[in-house]
């Protein structure tokens, strides 16, 4: 394998009337899953659209598997499987028809694999998509993205609105995919619990800027939730926490360096914190 990173983004800029993407930097090492989190409107979808040249960047560099994304656009797109938030085939088509169309669009389309997936996930081959449940439609989108043997998966909210059973099936699919060390996934979502399960790296984008990007395990070990009474909270230095909130029991604050914080404030409890809470604290600042 001649490249180290499946995706390298440096200084990506894009300006809209009401929104701006500010110098986004992102590195997705090959063979890993990166969770791309942020609230609605933070810039996740915009970033993916810029990678795919669906919208044109104002500035910055994007390299996919070591190659510039514009210079080698067609070759690279053969290696990318995409699940978009919006945008797929017309709902009047059936999986069989979709398979026929995709086999004409991708050199490496594997019809056998496609049919096997359809069977495995019990998706009726000849039925029009408009009669599918949301979960079935999502599974079909993902199967369509996987069946041409891509090396990079770009997923924009692939598990939104799905029940936990289906979500788990889909996450298993991704874990299967990532077994091959030449395969990588950029997983954009605001369902942070999915990322806690499978992501290797987390990048957090907020209002067009990257707030942090790090290994998931580091993030989960570093950040903590400091809990104490409202009165005791006055003793916590402002620069030590990244936002706080009141609960019926007292105060909670987001802190970094759990062990150090626990030592510094012995009256408080410093617990592990979920990705969702990290996101909430940052956004509410």
């Amino acid at each position: 394998m001649s490249y180290e990173n499946a995706l390298e983004i440096r200084g990506l800029n894009k300006e809209f009337k009401n929104f701006r993407l500010n110098g986004v930097d992102l590195i997705l090492p090959a063979g890993s899953i990166m969770g791309f989190i942020g609230e609605n409107g933070a810039g996740k979808t915009t970033t993916i659209k810029l990678i795919l040249n669906q919208i044109k960047k104002d500035g910055g560099e994007i390299r996919i598997m070591g190659k510039d994304h514009l210079e080698h656009e067609m070759d690279l797109k053969k290696e990318i499987g995409v699940v978009l938030d919006q945008g797929f085939f017309y709902e009047g088509l059936s999986p069989l028809q979709i398979g026929t169309i995709l086999s004409a669009l991708y050199d490496r389309w594997d019809d056998r694999l496609y049919r096997d997936y359809l069977k495995r996930f019990q998706i009726p081959e000849k039925q029009a998509m408009k009669e599918f449940s949301k979960g079935m439609r999502m599974k079909l989108c993902i199967i369509a993205a996987l069946s041409h043997h891509p090396k990079l998966l770009l997923l924009d909210e692939p598990t939104g609105g799905l029940d936990p059973v289906v979500r788990n099936e889909i996450l298993d699919l991704f874990l299967d995919f990532i077994q091959d060390e030449e395969h990588s996934i950029l997983f954009s979502t605001h369902i942070t619990t999915d990322l806690e399960k499978i992501a290797d790296y987390i990048t957090f984008i907020h209002e067009g800027s990257i707030l942090f990007t790090d290994a998931k395990d580091s993030v989960m070990e570093d950040y903590g939730l400091l809990k104490c009474s409202a009165g005791d909270f006055e003793k916590v230095w402002a620069e030590d926490h990244l936002g706080s909130r009141r609960t019926s029991f007292g105060c909670q604050a987001l802190v970094r360096g759990r062990a150090a914080m626990a030592k510094k404030y012995p009256f408080a409890v410093v617990d592990p914190v979920s990705l969702e809470d990290i996101m909430l604290f940052y956004i509410q600042r």
């Binding site: 070759d75 978009l84 945008g87 009047g92 669009l105």
Partner: protein, 214 residues
């Protein structure tokens, strides 16, 4: 690109069946009543609405965004639409010719003969090409709804202008043209002009589409 045209074909299939049924009814009507001269108009219905509908399907399913994630160029996307239109027009001509001749075979006192059928069908085909040449760039830039308005305008405006001119007496003193002498040159010039316009339209649509963001 075969994939793109296949996608449009599958999208159209359901409504295509209805249109073919309507055409068959007209064909029978033509055969029974002897009025086959309007059958060439059926080509117009087929050609005009179906290619434009493919844009509607794409808009509805936000297809363009998805297509651009695939190894497909914007050029191929537009080319597929233009090629599909050509194919549809040819198919429409074929169906129109076949049904006209079938009707001719059965009708006792048809209001037209084989020569009229051929020339009318050919003329309608050229008009359809001309119309799509105008409408496609409008659709690419402004969307399908404005495209449909453009379609009506393309027919309405020249008709209204002509009626107005006739009303105002502008057409009373036209020099009588030697139509017979003009016929052969016109037969050669018209298709060439229309094909050129179609190609120009493609270039314009491609330019407009390349600037679009999805």
């Amino acid at each position: 690109m075969k994939g793109l045209m296949l996608k449009d074909y599958y999208n159209l299939r359901k409504s295509g069946k209805t249109i073919i049924a309507i055409m068959l009814i007209y064909a029978v009507f033509g055969a029974v009543s002897g009025q086959i001269s309007f059958m060439s108009a059926i080509v117009a219905i087929l050609c005009a609405t179906l290619p434009i509908s493919t844009f509607s399907y794409d808009d509805f399913s936000k297809w363009d965004s998805y297509a651009l994630s695939m190894p497909v160029t914007r050029r191929q996307i537009i080319l597929a639409k233009y090629l599909l239109s050509l194919i549809m027009i040819l198919l429409g001509c074929l169906v129109s010719l076949l049904s006209s001749f079938a009707a001719l075979a059965f009708a006792e006192d048809a209001d037209a003969g084989p020569l009229e059928v051929f020339s009318a069908t050919g003329a309608v085909a050229l008009v359809c090409l001309l119309m799509l040449s105008i409408i496609f760039p409008v659709i690419v830039k402004y969307g399908v709804e404005k495209g449909r308005i453009a379609m009506i305008a393309v027919f309405l405006v020249p008709t209204l202008l002509g009626l107005l001119a006739a009303r105002m007496g502008l057409l009373d003193n036209l020099p009588s043209a030697d139509l017979k002498a003009m016929l052969i040159p016109a037969l050669i010039a018209a298709p060439i002009a229309v094909v050129l316009l179609f190609a120009l339209s493609f270039a314009l649509s491609l330019h407009l589409y390349s600037k679009k963001e999805f």
